[in-house]
């Protein structure tokens, strides 16, 4: 008798679990989303993957290391290490070096309107038409430098970001708290 009760119980629980697995299925991979949120979204491909999300996918699958993102830099690596519970390590020099964010600027006199840079831009930040001058939407440029190699007349340069009040911050006080040696 008790045997049948157990059978019924197990069957009921099995159905419940089966239903829950369908009803509460998680769309996408939450780990990939979390890693992607930490990455700088420069979409530069210096990590050898075609964008930040593919790199996040590769990290989640264990196919890539956490130290391949130069725009993220040390801070990015630390954040990834915290997220994944692994040791932080120095940036892999094969992928590049950490540097300040720049924006691309097209020399509009030299531009021949070949459209090659538009095709290269991962965030559609370049505006232009065939045989007409192109220009860069500064606010949307991530500074990935992917538009530099395709340009046949080398009219694109990387410039430092203009200082704005939105990005200004107070200096951190120097903690010159010296130990008093008696």
């Amino acid at each position: 008798m008790s045997f049948f009760i157990l059978i019924i119980l197990f069957a009921a629980l099995g159905i419940l679990l089966g239903y829950a697995a369908i009803r509460f299925k998680v769309e996408g991979d939450p780990l990939v989303d979390k890693i992607d949120a930490v990455l700088p979204q420069t979409q530069c491909g210096q990590c050898n993957f075609p964008g930040c999300r593919p790199y996040a996918q590769a990290i989640a699958n264990g196919e890539a290391d956490i130290n391949q993102c130069p725009p993220g830099g040390e801070a990015g690596i630390t954040a990834l290490a915290d997220l994944l519970g692994v040791e932080a390590k120095p940036l892999n020099e094969e992928n590049g070096v950490e540097k300040a964010t720049l924006v691309a600027v097209i020399d509009e006199k030299t531009c021949i309107g070949c459209k090659l840079c538009i095709q290269a831009c991962p965030v559609d930040a370049i505006l232009g038409a065939p045989k007409h001058m192109h220009t860069i939407i500064e606010a949307e440029c991530t500074g990935c430098e992917l538009c530099l190699p395709p340009c046949p007349v080398e009219c694109i340069t990387m410039e430092p970001l203009a200082k704005t009040l939105a990005l200004w911050q107070w200096d951190k006080p120097t903690t010159s708290q010296q130990k008093v040696v008696s």
């Binding site: 107070w170 006080p173 010159s176």
Partner: protein
């Protein structure tokens, strides 16, 4: 009148008022140049309405508000616009920002003003529009557009109490005090306008108890006016009792919740200088083009309370004060507690400037060697917002900014009480300012990276869609070719050309 207390504060700061408190307000001369930064207020920068070379009149609108939270700017004297370009602005960063520069012609020709002496004939909404058009912002230092504060339309909470902030708690500053002494009747008339606009049940004008003669003069003005719901209150001189939330707590016992504004608890609080500007804007029809500024400190020969045209370079005012003394060490906009150092005296007075302090070496808080925190807790006991400065310091210093944010870092009013109280001379406020601005930059960067992610994903999607569409088109073409045998098509073409040939031959 029953009064309450806020936590902590510094009762011993009521010093250095004597230098300027007894000096009557004098009118500063028209300077040769007036410089108007386009962003003098919280919100969007104003949009220029003039071009280089245009002639302008005193009181003419030269830049218009852009968007909801913004304020227009008016010329302070007649003259010619000589440039619209970057100019040093009064900001701790020392940056330049777009500004309109006017060369004055000395004639001071004014536009025709439209006074509204019987303001009760206008609806509250119309008065709000007049105040917005007059470019009035909070003159106590925050420079928040006043019209937004006073707009009661579409708001669910009825305004119950109107608080007029005459508590000038920072050392050295005396511009509001002089205004109350000399122009009490105008301020009281301004209060009447505000009561009519907001429908508040009472108005309380708060004044610190270290200026009893001001209290007497304002009481006389109130008695003259004979409106029983307007009253004046003398409050204890405890720094920073002039802070908006601290003053509300002192007068009503109510605390404005974190992240909320006074209107959420049925209170509107307005600086007395702003009330004066509102009275001038409605009764006289005058836009905000001047304000009272205290010029003081051991670095100037003769301290002054001046009615200054907004846009006047500081240098012109120093000349009125008979120049710098040899002790002049640092130029500070605002008071010694919450003010910030300026790069030079080319910087103009803006709407929010209440004081220019030319400090001597003794007056500048000398940078003492910071010692380690001994966790004495003095900072927490003086904090008027009841924060835990030592914890905030700990997290700010070690870059654990999210933790500092969770301890309500953004409620810090940067009053500097903890700095003064700290026996180890730790520059606490400096750490908090750093942490706040670093968090803001982080959030901004987060926003930019989210935008980049969206654009990248949208592009990937578009490329995939284009590819699918191309594949679909070429598949259709191939299918069409297959369904129609090539032979038939060729035959049809041959027949067509034959027919054409025949017809042309027939014509011959």
């Amino acid at each position: 009148m029953k009064l309450w207390h806020f936590n902590g504060g510094l009762p011993s700061l009521a010093e250095h008022k004597n230098e300027s408190v007894n000096l009557p307000i004098e009118i500063a001369p028209v300077p040769t140049r007036l410089i108007y930064p386009l962003r003098q207020h919280i919100g969007n920068a104003a949009k220029p309405l003039v071009k280089v070379g245009d002639k302008v009149l005193c009181g003419q609108k030269i830049a218009d508000a852009q968007g909801m939270i913004s304020a227009p700017i008016h010329a302070g004297s007649s003259g010619t616009v000589i440039s619209i370009a970057d100019h040093l602005i009064p900001h701790p960063s020392g940056f330049s920002a777009p500004s309109i520069t006017i060369e004055t012609d000395g004639l001071d020709n004014e536009i025709e003003l439209t006074p509204h002496t019987s303001f009760r004939q206008l609806a509250a909404g119309e008065l709000v529009d007049l105040i917005r058009e007059a470019g009035i912002v909070g003159l106590g230092g925050a420079a928040f557009p006043t019209a937004i504060k006073l707009n009661t339309q579409g708001k669910t909470i009825q305004i119950d109490t109107l608080i007029l902030n005459g508590a000038e708690c920072e050392p050295y500053i005396s511009c509001d005090d002089r205004l109350l002494k000399e122009r009490a009747n105008r301020v009281v008339e301004g209060i009447e306008i505000l009561l009519y606009m907001t429908g508040a049940k009472r108005a309380i004008l708060a004044i610190e108890d270290n200026v009893p003669d001001t209290f007497t003069s304002i009481q006389a003005a109130i008695a003259n006016n004979q409106n029983p719901i307007i009253s004046a209150a003398q409050i204890p001189t405890i720094y920073p009792t002039g802070g908006e939330k601290q003053l509300i707590q002192t007068l009503t016992g109510k605390e404005v919740p974190s992240g909320k504004i006074p209107a959420d608890i049925g209170i509107v609080s307005i600086n007395v200088g702003t009330v004066h500007a509102i009275q001038q804007a409605i009764i006289k029809g005058k836009p905000l083009t001047s304000r009272v500024v205290t010029i003081t400190g051991e670095g100037v020969n003769k301290p002054h309370n001046l009615e200054v045209r907004i846009g006047t370079p500081i240098k012109a005012l120093i000349d009125v004060c008979h120049g710098y003394t040899k002790h002049a060490e640092r130029l500070i906009m605002g008071g010694p507690m919450m003010g910030f150092a300026l790069l030079n005296d080319e910087i103009p007075i803006v709407k929010a400037t209440n004081c220019i302090l030319v400090a001597s070496k003794q007056e500048v808080v000398t940078e003492k060697q910071a010692m380690p925190c001994i966790r004495c807790g003095l900072c927490a006991s003086v904090c008027p917002v009841s924060l835990l400065p030592q914890q905030l310091y700990w997290f700010s210093r070690s870059e654990q900014l999210e933790k500092a944010e969770r301890l309500n870092l953004f409620d810090c009013i940067e009053c500097g009480c903890c700095d003064v109280a700290c026996p180890s001379h730790i520059p606490l406020v400096q750490h908090f300012r750093y942490a706040k601005s670093a968090l803001k930059v982080q959030n901004h960067e987060k926003h930019l990276s989210n935008v980049a992610r969206e654009r990248f994903e949208a592009r990937e999607e578009r490329i995939a869609r284009d590819k699918a569409e191309r594949a679909e088109r070429s598949r259709k073409k191939k299918a069409a070719l297959k369904s129609k045998p090539a032979k038939e098509e060729i035959d049809a073409a041959v027949n067509r050309s034959k027919a054409k040939k025949n017809s042309t031959e027939g014509e011959d």
